[in-house]
Every structure is written in C-alpha cells, then in structure tokens.
C-alpha cells in the first residue's frame, strides 16, 4: 500500500520526553491540570510525528504519549474494569494490572481522537493501534466471568467496534497487539484465532498483529490462521532464530520483521539491518516483508530510539537498492 519495497514502521510506543514524564507524575498527584497534561501529550506526539518523518519511516505511529500501559489504557476507559494494583512483569518493571469486576464494554471510542490528531499532522499514513482481546483478558485479573472464553469474546466485540471507528476516521492500517497470544498455546490458540476473526471482520484497512517473546515456534504454523494481513514479530533479539521455523511450511502472511532489539541500549548498525533482511529473503519473499523494531521502544531513551530507527531506515534503503540492482 505504500508503494515501496520493505515499508518501514514501528511497533507503537516511543519514550516519553522528560517534560511529559514529569507532567504525568504531577498529574497523578493531582498537581497538574488535566488540560495542561493533554497539551503536553499533544506536543510530544507532534514531536514524534515530526521525528518519524525526518527519520524517513513510511508508516507512522502516534507514539502513545498518552498511554501508561497498553492494557490499562483500554481498561481505564471501558466498563467492567478497575485497576487492582501494581504487579511486576520482569526485573524492576511493574504494570498497573486491571481486574475485571463486571460486564466489559466500550463506552465510546478509545483511540480515535488521538488517531485523528496525529493523522492530521502528516501526509504519511498513521497506524491505528489497539490492544487485542486475548491480551487484555490475559493481562487482567478475571474476577467476573466464569470462563476466560466469555471474557475474551466479549472484549473482541468491543475491540472490533473500535477498529471500525478507526477505519471510519480514515485509518488505512490497524494494528491489534497480541503479545500474550501464545500464553496457553495448546489450550487457547483456537480461542485467540476466533477472537481475531471477530476483531477484523469486515474491515478494509490493512491489519497487523504484533506478537512478541514467548514460544513462537509453538504457535507456528497455527498463527497463520489469524485473520490479519501481517504478523509483526521480534526477530533480532534471538538473532533471527525464528527464520528456521518459517522455512516450512511457508510464511503465508506479510511479516513485520523485527530488526532492532527493543531491550538493548546499543544502536544496531545499518549493516546489521541489511544483513537481517538479506537472511529473511532466503525464507520469505521481498514483497511480504515490512521492517520494524522487535517491540515498542518506550523503554529506550529518545537518543537510543532515534539512533536505532535511523539505522533501520538506512539499512532498509541499502537493501532496497541491492534488490533494485
């Protein structure tokens, strides 16, 4: 849809600038007017949109300046949830884990306003960014629904409504993040597939799902059944070991090829990116490859993020040239 080979994009989140982190801290203590926080979130969003244009990315994101956590952001705005407290995910990283305490549902659009705002800033396409139903369910405590299945499918209907609203607002690309999709590969994968069918049913936008960590080979080739155009995956952090898995059977979707380790401080070189794409071409045809980082970059510094993305764009350009000659 972008008309270039190896379109470049990112997984969604960027680091928040220090002024915004400070503002969020103050706002959490009710020492800052919400309107002022909103103004700073817009400012930071605009800065990242400009930065992405300047770096030369093809498909942009809004950078999620207004989100704390990818699940809590949705849970906070929906019926049926409350935040139970902070839970550690690894190292000293904590996240506010929601609890489902009643019937879940959307009160109104969740992400559309931010999509409109960021899309109005640029001529390049901005991706609509949603967290998928399986992940919202899995990363929440379920105090209410008798089974996970009932919760997941109810959430799928809500996320579908949001995707429809994004499409109506002009989104050509919609990403549904499902990093938890392989939590229970044997027990639950069919449920995850069923949920994604509900989410993307009838959409005309190009759809992406992002899956990270965990045992991807365990859900291959089953994951090719997910009702999306593209599956975005972390390749770099395991030195492209997944390519072995994708040799057979053939990877039939487009791939969002993670070429930057989102959890290392070091910026990859353009050569590393070029080499990663070259290795992928042995397994997946060029026209199926989109280039992106392994994961959201919000845990990097702004400098690390920009350095990594420049290397990604430059490495991709070199590969385009190589393929053209």
């Amino acid at each position: 849809m972008t008309g270039v080979l190896f379109p470049t994009t990112t997984v969604g989140s960027f680091p928040k600038p220090p002024y915004l982190r400070e503002a969020r801290r103050k706002a959490a203590r009710k020492q800052l007017d919400p309107a002022e926080l909103r103004r700073l979130e817009r400012q930071a969003t605009e800065e990242w949109v400009r930065a992405q244009e300047e770096i030369g990315l093809d498909i942009l994101v809004d950078g999620e300046m207004y989100r704390g956590d990818m699940v809590a952001f949705f849970a906070d705005q929906m019926d049926g949830f409350e935040i139970a407290g902070l839970v550690r995910s690894y190292g000293n990283r904590y996240y506010p884990k929601p609890a489902v305490v009643g019937p879940v549902g959307r009160r109104g659009p969740l992400t559309v306003e931010w999509f409109r705002f960021s899309q109005a800033l640029t001529k390049r396409p901005v991706k609509g960014m949603l967290t998928g139903p399986y992940t919202i369910a899995e990363w929440s405590f379920n105090e209410y629904y008798p089974t996970r299945r009932e919760l997941v499918l109810e959430l799928a209907r809500a996320v579908h409504d949001e995707a429809v609203d994004l499409e109506k607002a002009g989104a050509q690309y919609i990403q549904i993040d499902e990093p938890a999709i392989h939590t229970r590969p044997d027990e639950d994968f069919d449920l995850a597939v069923e949920a994604m069918e509900i989410v993307t049913r009838g959409l005309t936008a190009y759809t992406v799902t992002h899956v990270c960590y965990g045992d991807v080979p365990r859900i291959y080739p089953a994951m090719l059944r997910l009702a999306v155009n593209q599956i975005d995956l972390a390749l770099k952090n395991d030195d492209y070991a997944l390519l072995d898995t994708f040799r057979s059977p053939r990877f039939t979707k487009d791939i969002g090829l993670g070429v930057l380790d989102a959890h290392s401080h070091r910026a990859e070189s353009p050569e590393e990116v070029t080499e990663g794409i070259r290795r992928t071409l042995e397994v997946i045809p060029a026209e199926q490859i989109y280039v992106s980082p392994d994961c959201g970059l919000k845990t990097r510094t702004a400098d690390e993020t920009v350095a990594k993305l420049r290397a990604m764009v430059e490495g991709t350009r070199r590969m385009r040239k190589e393929c053209a000659s």
Partner: protein
C-alpha cells in the same frame, strides 16, 4: 494443620507508598547506590515481608524471595556453566525471566541461598522455609547449548543443587522446599525426574517438600508418592477440580501442601472458602498433615491483595481447626 506460603511475595507496596525496592534497583543501575546499599534495602524489605506474613498468622514463612529477579536466573547465576540471555515468558503468566543458557559443565561452586536463609531465619519470629528451584524446571526453562541431552543436563543440575540443599540443611533449615512446576509441562519426563529427585535429596538431613503449581498432577499420581520427600505441594486452583479428583485415586501417604488460595487472581477468598477446602482435604489426609497455603507464589498479586489473602487464609484455617465451618 498449619498455614504456609509457596514462596514469592510482592516486593513493593501499593501506591502511593513508595516502592523502595523498585527505585533502589533503578538507582543501582544508574550507579547512584552501591550493591551493598541495594542489599541493605533488600534486607529491610525482607524483614518487612517476614513481619507481614507473621502478622497475618502464617506458621511457616519464606523470605518472600525479595532478592530473586526470578526463580531461574537466581540459581543459574549462582552455579557455574550458565550465561543469561533474553526475556522469556514464565509458564502461562505475564511474568518474564531472562533465560539461562547452559554453555558449559554445570557445577555448584558456593552456597546460593544460604546467606538469605540465615538472614531470614535470624529475623523471623516464625519458622522459615528456604526454597530452591528444582533441576527439571531449571533445565526445561533454560536453553541447553552444552549437554545436548535433557537427561544429562537435568542430572548434572540435580547433582549441583544437591550441594545447595545439603548446605541449607547444614545451616539449620528444618524444612526445605524444592519447586518443580516444570514437571507439569514435561510429564513425559517422569522417569528422568524420578532419578533426579534421588540425586537431589541424597543425604539431606531436613524435612523435604516438593511443590508443583500451575496445573494438575493427573498421570503423575500416585507415582509422586514414591519420591523421597515428606511434603507434596499441589495447586488446587489452576486445574480447578482435577487435582481434587486425582488425589482420591490412592491413599495420600505424605503431608499435603494444600494450595487453595488463588495466588493469581485478585478475587478474594473468604475464611469460609478456605475452611471448606480444608475440610474437603481432611477427607483423605489427616488434618495434622495439611500445610494450607496459596496455589503459587504471591508475587502475581498486588501487595495489598496478597496481604488480605493471607489474612483470609489464616482465618480460614483457624475456622477449620475449631470445627466451626
């Protein structure tokens, strides 16, 4: 009948109380405080957690595993033969651990947990139970680039960890717990596991507990009763009714770690719920052989919820003892 816990405890309090451990790790990473300073904070948090468990009325406590980044790297870093790689999902949770990679002969070089145990035992008013991650779990959660054989890898780990368990016994631990949730995802490895347990517990002069969690032991029971241990801990929450059915198939000849308090859901048990579960267990195990506790480590919960659950646990066991329920 006594109350106990399975291992981990939330390291930070609920906001707005400051998460001292969390911020100290950050300061240590930035080089603002020394390793000794961080250890001092961990000492203080450990004492706090020991107090919370005692105040709740838990009979046999742990140190809360405050110093553990996770149950895998804590041991892998202490043994020789491992390097540490990227993040992996910890079973079917939303918790991640850095994956140990065996790159050479695995060997025990010095005590890993003994100083932690001695510290906790000295500070606690209750009996402290040290916990060691078992050889099969360590092996299946790691990547083996050295042995190229699960059998040899597990047996090498069993021999190495035998030194650790013996050292804990020598340091005065009356009861030592070994965790093997990995057995439930590799049931096919029962014969290997059986041999590994003989090596692991060889010459250990303490009471021995083996805990499994995150699933049922169908297919492993009553074989589990042949293991050279005194206590078998089972998760009666994750597999719903399955473990209740399974344990009735043969007389339960060990003490039972009755994991009935849901460590992975904020939904609050009442003391009556716990008392009912105790009475149910007393149908096949003598009440004196019951170690009643959570289904797994409590770090999956926010601190406030974990604490409230322990109150419910202790109150429930009191009810059961009084025969009021």
């Amino acid at each position: 009948m006594e109350t106990t816990v399975v291992g981990s405890y939330p390291k930070i309090p609920d906001p707005p109380a400051p998460g001292r451990w969390r911020s100290s790790v950050e300061k240590h990473q930035r080089g603002e405080i020394s390793a000794a300073d961080l250890r001092h904070i961990e000492d203080e948090v450990t004492e706090e957690v020991l107090r919370e468990q005692a105040d709740a009325g838990i009979d046999v406590v742990t140190d809360g595993q405050i110093r553990w980044e996770d149950g895998l790297t804590y041991f892998a870093r202490g043994l020789t033969g491992f390097t540490i790689a990227g993040l992996q999902r910890y079973f079917d949770t939303n918790v991640y651990y850095r994956q140990p990679v065996a790159t050479g002969e695995v060997a025990w070089r010095a005590p890993i947990t003994v100083a932690d145990y001695a510290f906790a035992a000295a500070k606690s008013t209750r009996s402290v139970k040290p916990v060691v991650t078992g050889p099969l779990t360590l092996a299946v959660m790691s990547r083996d680039e050295h042995y190229r054989s699960l059998d040899r890898f597990v047996m090498a780990l069993a021999a190495a960890l035998n030194h650790e368990v013996r050292a804990l016994a020598a340091a005065g631990a009356a009861l030592i717990q070994v965790d093997e949730p990995g057995l439930l995802v590799r049931r096919d490895q029962w014969p290997l596991f059986r041999r590994a347990m003989d090596v692991l517990w060889d010459g250990v002069g303490a009471r021995r507990a083996l805990y499994t969690y995150f699933g049922h032991v169908d297919g492993l029971y009553p074989a589990l009763l042949d293991l050279p241990v005194d206590v078998i801990g089972l998760d009666f929450v994750a597999a719903r009714e399955r473990n209740w059915d399974v344990v009735r198939r043969a007389p339960f000849t060990k003490k039972l770690g009755l994991g009935v308090l849901d460590a992975r859901n904020t939904r609050m048990e009442t003391p009556e719920d716990i008392a009912i579960a105790c009475r149910r267990a007393a149908e096949f195990v003598s009440p004196a052989s019951l170690h009643v506790g959570p289904s797994a480590g409590l770090e999956f919960l926010p601190r406030r919820v974990a604490r409230k659950k322990l109150d419910a646990l202790a109150a429930g066991v009191r009810l059961a003892k009084e025969g009021v329920a």
